[in-house]
């Protein structure tokens, strides 16, 4: 109790607080801290000597309050220092230290977006080979021998039995051979046709195939899936429609259109003032295709649809010439 009695602790605290709050620099603050809280301070000495609980509580209370005051003053001083710096004219519009960064090709970005939508709908992503047998590319898809797509003028042949795939549809055949249904997959990849390159044609292009095989699949399921996919890609306001078409491997076959995502369907240059944009081909899987891969069409039904990736990129980003995708000019690649 001696040590307690020797000091007027209320006065000590007052004095210390005054010194701490009055410190105008970090060193002044440090001096005050050493004097009132340091190892040799009266407070520290008294704390070392304290033997009873009541005195301990009193002295520890003082210490805690003084420490809090030191911390608060430290922040004040720092804030003042920063404010001073802010006045001193640092030009924050000068660029930061450069960090190199590249970009994914636009077609990869869109391919991933498409894949991700289908992954979300419970589809797998299928990697298909680009060289196909004529059986995979044509025969198994029930394309008849006179179909123009088989001609040497449309298709790259390696020999009579081998072609560069003209569409991603041979992956339907491969997948149904390798998987046990149900099958839900998308297959993106390079396809090849003998088109002379111009603004809208390339002998090498990217297509995405979607295939669903399950029990009880109908054309209405195709309509719903196409609708859900294009809403995910182009916005929830989109509508789709089906028109009659012909593909050897679907029956009935349809083309599907999406309401224009530029004008919302009112009509503009992009949709040729029709309000609709042609997106691709689709249909109910022909029962003979199932037979060709030893599946029973009485048990399994399916739908398939396919569309081009470049077309989506061109429409969405206003690119007039698809040759730009293959030129890899950094001034173009860097835009997306």
């Amino acid at each position: 109790m001696d040590s307690l009695a020797a000091v007027d602790w209320t006065a000590y605290e007052q004095e210390a607080l005054k010194a701490i709050e009055g410190a105008l620099s970090e060193s002044e603050l440090d001096d005050a801290r050493v004097k009132y809280l340091g190892r040799k301070s009266e407070l520290a000495q008294a704390l070392r000597a304290v033997r009873d609980r009541e005195s301990g509580m009193l002295l520890n209370g003082i210490r805690a309050r003084l420490e809090a005051a030191v911390l608060a003053r430290e922040h004040d001083l720092l804030r003042v220092a920063y404010e001073a710096a802010a006045d001193s004219g640092v030009d924050v519009t000068i660029p930061g230290h450069p960090v190199r960064r590249g970009r994914l090709h636009l077609l990869t970005q869109i391919r991933r977006e498409i894949e991700d939508i289908f992954l979300g709908m419970g589809y797998e992503v299928w990697d298909g080979a680009e060289v196909a047998t004529t059986w995979e590319n044509f025969d198994a898809l029930t394309s008849d021998p006179g179909h123009p797509s088989r001609s040497q003028f449309d298709t790259f042949y390696l020999d009579d039995d081998t072609v560069l795939r003209t569409h991603t549809s041979p992956d339907q055949i491969r997948a149904m051979q390798q998987r046990t249904p149900p099958v839900y997959l998308v297959s993106p990849g390079r396809c090849y046709r003998r088109d002379t390159p111009d603004a809208t044609h390339s002998p090498i292009f990217l297509q995405v195939e979607c295939l669903a095989v399950d029990r009880g699949i109908t054309l209405a399921d195709l309509q719903g899936t196409v609708l859900q996919f294009f809403r995910a890609l182009f916005g929830q306001e989109r509508e789709v429609r089906m028109r009659t078409s012909f593909f050897p491997f679907t029956e009935p076959s349809v083309e599907f259109d999406v309401t224009c995502f530029i004008c919302g369907g009112r009509g503009c240059g992009t949709c040729k003032h029709s309000g609709w944009i042609e997106m691709g081909g689709a249909g109910w899987v022909d029962p003979d295709v199932f037979r060709n891969v030893d599946l029973d069409p009485a048990e399994w039904q399916g739908f398939a649809f396919g569309f081009g990736i470049e077309r989506i990129a061109m429409l969405r980003h206003g690119l007039p010439d698809l040759r730009a995708f293959w030129e890899n000019d950094l001034r173009v690649l860097g835009q997306f």
């Binding site: 590249g102 990697d127 090849y192 349809v254 109910w284 950094l330």
Partner: protein, 763 residues
């Protein structure tokens, strides 16, 4: 196919506006590219186009090449009209447009004006001005029994809407106006008129020998003989329809064959009978070395697979594709052999491909023509030859092989609903099929009409015939799934990761062609018929395409060119044309070997794979290169790019095989590491990588980290030697290592390097 609407209306009644008809056809039947107005703009404008009687005609007083006429246009006030033509005189009946009339094309309006001092109140019209034909040598002279003032539209097909239709591959029946009329009838419920064509009287029984040597290529051939044919121009209505359908009028006989082809879909051909050697026709395959000059004036060397029409001596036509010049109908023709036939589609297709030809006839045969249409076409063409060319039908020969009967299909109307997810009532299905020409009995046995026999063979094909009229009503549902799993495979996730690492490292992704002009592998698969020499080989490496992409960027003046590509290469497989397709990662960037190596190391590190580099000549002419697990990295030799360029290529399947399946936690917190720097003097030829590998092997698990610091030659180091410095960290997951442990580990490293590489530890 271009379909003049007036022609369509001749075969079917419908109330829909043309635009709405087109809109509905697009859903149910075929593409309609556009609707084009042809000829004189319609509506009120037509009142300006009238029949006129020329009252007076004389030379223009002030112009030698012009006539000044007075024409009665039926309103009691004869008009004076200046005209440039001289093929008529007073008394002629002509076509006149009065002031205010808008001419075809819609841009030119006739006005009253002065021509060389004389007033002209209108214009006397030629065929060409009305878009009725090509003839503009003079004005059109009309039949004299027409009354002045009669609306011209009642006399001539002045204007028409034309539907431009693209038919689908499976609908050859829609390559005829009558076929489209049938479709319109099914769509609108309008009445379909009977097929046009009434046999004219047969006048004689001339024999005309026809031999078919190849009944598979030509299962049916009808030859009809016509005498006393008067070759001349076709009437205006016929010319107008042909022009509207996009064909050029030539002469009445040729025009009739074209007109009937367009009307009924079965191509026809007319030969000048006098020019047929031996007075006969033989259908056979071409002989070796045989030649034919086709109607387009091209001399063609025939292939023995070509099916030809021949006379006793020579080929006179490429079957189904084009006739020959040697038997062409001409101004002196008086006898005609008319051909209608069936040709096998693939034979015609292959001939067309071989000779690189495209004709209206060929496109129809390729898709498959209704085998019964040959008879109807012969009938209709005969009627028109009699009516328009004064021809006498004097004989006919028909040769016919086996033509399979159209199928009958056992159908279940519920199948439609199962397939399309929409309930289509049985009565509607039956009605639609009936209108399309299918027969449906009480038990739902569906008999297919001849014009659909190629396409409709199974019950699912019948479903489509019904479904296509209801596509707008099909609801949007989703598959009712029992199980769901949508995820990328391990490989696909790693591929995305690699791409992202490279983008983060500053590279842009490129897409280059899989077909390349050159490839380092002499066995690279080659296209027998490439599109161009620039795209003839299936690449076995991405590097050629990437060099091209880099060069393009340099040429464009771009800086900091750093590109990568993730794509297939196609490795040849012996004895097969199906290559081994591999996913590869390739890169190219400006800078030396170590720039590229740094990128490769970043990829490996991201995948938790420790790479080992071994110097190797991986590219031709390359100054520095190395093999690494799954691929290579190298500085390019001269490849047409200024400065230093480096590249790398990794086989992703091989690389991903090295990726650890899971990463196990290593305790790096509980016990602290002991860090040291070690420098060794070794022969210059010793690779730093080998020193590090040996150090790891010698010290074992407790050498947690060994990092290359520097590689130094020069002062204090003997010639032929170098000093290599590493930073090492010794650490154990089980205890704090003591100074003795550190000494032990360090000694193990020093001894191993001394033994294997003669390395001496520097102070």
């Amino acid at each position: 196919m271009k379909v003049p609407v007036s022609w369509l209306r001749e075969y079917v009644d419908f109330d829909l506006p043309v635009e709405e008809l087109a809109r509905q056809l697009v859903f149910t039947s075929c593409e309609v590219d556009r609707i084009v107005r042809r000829g004189v703009p319609g509506g009120d404008n037509l009142r300006h186009f009238v029949v006129g009687k020329v009252l007076e005609a004389a030379k223009h007083p002030n112009a030698d090449k012009l006539q000044l006429t007075k024409v009665d246009v039926g309103d009691g006030e004869p008009r004076s009209i200046v005209c440039g033509a001289w093929n008529f005189g007073a008394g002629a009946t002509v076509a006149v447009v009065t002031p205010g009339g808008v001419m075809p094309g819609g841009e030119f309006t006739i006005e009253k004006r002065k021509l060389r001092g004389e007033t002209s109140e209108g214009m006397i019209l030629s065929e060409r001005e009305l878009e009725l034909g090509e003839d503009h040598a003079g004005i059109m002279v009309l039949a004299d029994d027409l009354v002045a003032g009669t609306p011209l539209a009642d006399v001539l097909p002045l204007g028409d809407d034309v539907l431009e239709i693209e038919t689908l591959y499976n609908r050859p029946d829609l390559t005829s106006v009558y076929g489209i009329a049938r479709e319109v009838a099914a769509l609108t419920g309008g009445e379909l008129k009977p097929m046009p064509g009434v046999e004219p009287a047969r006048d004689g029984d001339e024999p005309f020998p026809v031999t078919i040597e190849d009944l598979e290529g030509c299962p049916r051939f009808i030859a009809r003989v016509f005498r006393d044919v008067t070759l001349g121009e076709s009437p205006a209505w016929l010319k107008a329809r042909l022009s509207g359908a996009g064909m050029r009028p030539i002469s009445n006989v040729v025009d009739i064959t074209n007109y009937v082809m367009l009307a009924l879909g079965s191509p026809l051909h007319a030969y000048d009978a006098e020019t047929l050697a031996g007075g006969q026709i033989i259908v056979r395959r071409a002989r070796a070395g045989e030649e034919l000059v086709t109607l387009d004036g091209t001399r063609r060397e025939l292939d023995t697979r070509d099916l030809v029409i021949a006379d006793a001596e020579r080929a006179i036509g490429l079957a189904g594709v084009m006739g020959g010049e040697n038997t062409e109908v001409s101004g002196s023709t008086t006898s005609v052999i008319l051909e209608t036939a069936n040709f096998e589609p693939l034979t015609v297709l292959k001939s067309g491909e071989r000779h690189r030809m495209r004709s209206e006839s060929q496109t129809r045969w390729e898709k498959g023509v209704d085998p019964e249409a040959a008879g109807y076409a012969a009938r209709y063409a005969s009627q028109l030859l009699a009516e328009l060319a004064g021809a006498r039908w004097t004989g006919e020969t028909e040769v016919r092989g086996e033509i399979p009967a159209p199928p009958t299909i056992a159908f279940r109307p519920a199948y439609t609903n199962e397939a399309i997810g929409l309930d289509v009532p049985e009565s509607e299905q039956r009605d639609r099929l009936d209108r399309l020409g299918f027969g449906v009995d009480e038990q739902w046995n569906v008999s297919v009409p001849s014009w659909r026999a190629r396409d409709v063979r199974r019950d699912i094909d019948v479903v489509e015939e019904v479904a296509r009229f209801r596509l707008e009503d099909v609801p949007a549902t989703l598959p009712n799934r029992q199980a769901m799993h949508g995820r990328l495979t391990h490989t696909q996730r790693l591929r995305r990761q690699v791409e992202d690492v490279l983008v983060g490292a500053g590279l842009h992704e490129a897409y280059t062609y899989s077909l390349q002009p050159d490839d380092p592998d002499p066995n690279a698969l080659e296209l027998p018929v490439p599109l161009s020499s620039q795209q003839r080989l299936l690449r076995t490496t991405l590097s050629v395409g990437l060099i091209g992409a880099a060069r393009h960027n340099v040429d464009m003046g771009n800086h900091d060119v750093e590109l990568f590509e993730v794509a297939h290469v196609y490795l040849p497989v012996e004895g097969s044309k199906v290559p081994n397709e591999r996913w590869r990662l390739g890169g190219i960037l400006q800078g030396n070997f170590f720039r590229a190596k740094g990128i490769v190391e970043a990829v490996f590190e991201a995948l938790h794979v420790e790479p080992t580099f071994e110097r190797a000549q991986v590219l031709e002419g390359s100054p520095v290169g190395a093999r690494v697990e799954s691929g290579w990295v190298a500085q390019h030799g001269p490849v047409g790019l200024d400065g230093e360029w480096s590249a790398f290529e990794l086989d992703l399947e091989e690389l991903f095989a090295l990726v650890p399946e899971r990463i196990l936690y290593r305790d790096v917190i509980t016990f602290p590491p002991l860090r040291q720097d070690l420098a060794f003097v070794v022969d210059e030829g010793v690779p730093a990588g080998q020193l590090l590998a040996a150090a790891r092997e010698a010290a074992g698990e407790e050498l947690r980290e060994a990092r290359f610091l520097s590689d130094y030659r020069g002062d204090q180091i003997a010639a032929g030697k170098k000093s290599v410095a590493f930073a090492v960290a010794f650490q154990s997951p089980e205890r704090t290592l003591s100074d003795e442990d550190a000494t032990r580990l360090r000694r193990a490293v020093v001894e191993a390097l001394a033994t294997r590489f003669g390395a001496e530890l520097r102070a």
